[in-house]
């Protein structure tokens, strides 16, 4: 391939703007990142990442707000996986306070986080379908994703930003009527997910675009710190739900889904199987919800925190999310550090675009689940003729650039 590309004298520079919803000293809910891809002919020869377009300074802000205000701040790091951010931060606070939430609250937290995994995986799989040109599948999947959003609303009271988790428990409890409604929704969603799973496995177009594309070896995954479904699709069985067994994961039966292929298709199929596991977890929780209180009395929570530090992890839909919270005593944290999974998965994978065709770049990027919403700006530079023009990511993916 190198000999072939060296004959081509046209250099195409493709900066793409994507949006990763990562943490604090870092991105915002929709943080744009620029990945400059240099290609010779059809093949990528060099790639660079540029970040910092919308740095919100959440870590600095967190130092200035109180421990409790930061729960809402952390929930707003990411719009899609807000409950996992809040859960991870709140558990760090609970470790500093030496406080343990009641079993019912732990189960409810787990339920919300699994619903979040379901709708997040459905979103990125729908986007993957759209990127490779299968718009109908995108529409259908997004329609069925609404059912999960409804389920999340039934549990938390909010469709998107849950603000559900608080120190020592959760904000709302479930009653029998709501549990029945949730069970009905899960029963309705399951056959739909199985259907889409089969479409991904059998559809010719999807197979052509995803199989053998963006392959990552297990050693590349660990040396570059890749996480979540990206790591598991390359055979690395890493899952914070297992490593840390937080909330109800010590009691709820589940399995770590892994595959060996390590390509874009494997990453998609890992997500499908994980959705199946998530549905099983949700059903288990609804059938085995422990009794007792789940909502603590907010007025009895301590305002001042003791000195201490904690490092918590949570398995967000995109991989392991970590929080470090340090308290020097008082009402404000001394340091809050958030490391989101996209932070590793997007920046560290940049070298792996080399050798693929330009049209594969969006498919590979989507397979890392970077929470795409503003990647629609791409510039193509023809250095020989000095022409520069912008194309949409969709045109690029379809080879029309």
């Amino acid at each position: 391939m190198t000999e072939e590309v060296s004959k081509v004298d046209k250099v195409v520079e493709i900066p793409m703007t994507v949006e990763i919803p990562v943490g604090p000293q870092h991105p915002a809910v929709h943080e744009p990142i620029l990945i400059k891809v240099y290609a010779e002919g059809e093949y990528v020869v060099k790639a660079e990442a540029y970040t910092g377009y919308n740095h919100r300074g959440i870590e600095k802000l967190a130092e200035k707000k109180s421990f409790y205000q930061d729960i809402f701040l952390c929930g707003r790091v990411c719009g899609i996986c807000n409950a996992v951010h809040a859960d991870c931060y709140v558990r760090a606070l609970e470790h500093i306070l030496d406080k343990e939430p009641p079993p019912r609250a732990k189960y409810l937290r787990t339920l919300v986080m699994e619903l979040e995994r379901l709708h997040s995986h459905m979103l990125i799989l729908a986007v993957t379908a759209e990127i490779v040109g299968f718009d109908t599948l995108f529409m259908h999947m997004m329609r069925d994703r609404e059912l999960i959003m409804k389920a999340k609303e039934i549990v938390t009271g909010n469709r998107v930003l849950a603000d559900y988790i608080m120190v020592g428990g959760v904000r709302r409890d479930l009653n029998t009527e709501k549990i029945d409604k949730l069970k009905k929704i899960l029963a309705k969603v399951e056959p739909r997910i199985r259907h889409y799973w089969r479409v991904f496995e059998e559809d010719v177009t999807l197979n052509k675009r995803l199989v053998d594309v963006g392959r990552l070896t297990p050693a590349q995954v660990t040396s570059h710190g890749l996480l979540g479904p990206v790591a598991r699709a390359s055979g690395i069985a890493t899952d914070s739900r297992y490593h840390d067994a937080y909330d109800a994961y010590a009691e709820v039966p589940f399995r770590i889904v892994t595959r060996r292929e390590g390509d874009c298709m494997a990453r998609s199929l890992v997500r499908f199987e994980e959705m199946q596991v998530s549905l099983e977890i949700c059903r288990y929780i609804l059938n085995h919800l422990p009794g007792g209180e789940a909502v603590p009395d907010e007025r009895r929570l301590p305002r001042r925190f003791p000195e201490g530090e904690a490092f918590t992890t949570v398995e967000a839909p995109r991989g392991e999310l970590t929080y470090y919270v340090m308290s020097k005593g008082g009402v404000n944290p001394y340091r809050v550090k958030i490391r989101t999974p996209s932070y590793n998965n997007v920046i560290n994978t940049v070298p792996f675009y080399v050798g693929h065709t330009i049209a594969d770049v969006p498919a590979i990027l989507a397979s890392y689940d970077p929470c795409i919403s503003c990647m629609e700006r791409v510039t193509v530079i023809d250095s020989r003729r000095g022409i520069r023009r912008k194309v949409s990511m969709r045109d690029l993916a379809r080879g029309e650039a």
């Binding site: 300074g57 600095k60 660990t222 040396s223 710190g225 550090k337």
Partner: protein, 154 residues
Amino acid sequence: MSSDPLEIPDVLKPIENLLKGVAIMKPGRVVALLESSDVVKAYVALKARYGETGLYFSTLVATDLKEEGKIRIDYYINVLEKNQYVVLRTHVPRDDPRIESLLKEAPAALPGECEAYDLLGVIFEGNPHLRRAFFVPEEVAGKGIFPLRKDAGV
């Protein structure tokens, strides 16, 4: 954080000779206190013992300890084989924060090192990708402000 100088956890056996102290951070993370010049050696020793796919570099946390005149750097490493988080903890002087880059041994350290440089001014020697405005907006970075320092005034 509680210190117990007598007991060295199993997971730290490969770097026993480099340890200056051991502590536990909640919940159950093993903290290895090291000289700043020993961090890369410690990571190499852990990698040699647990294998390239037996651990991964997870998180880099740099904290400004203004009152002590130091910047603390924590390297969080997930040892998959032992199902245990190891924290390599070291301190560098606040007025000249320099430490050897881990990039050659762990490419995963790239965003962590770039971020710590941009936000706290820690220089990771041997990392060619360090630059201001990696995350911080140009107008702040241009003034030479490191926003996460306690006296940054932002």
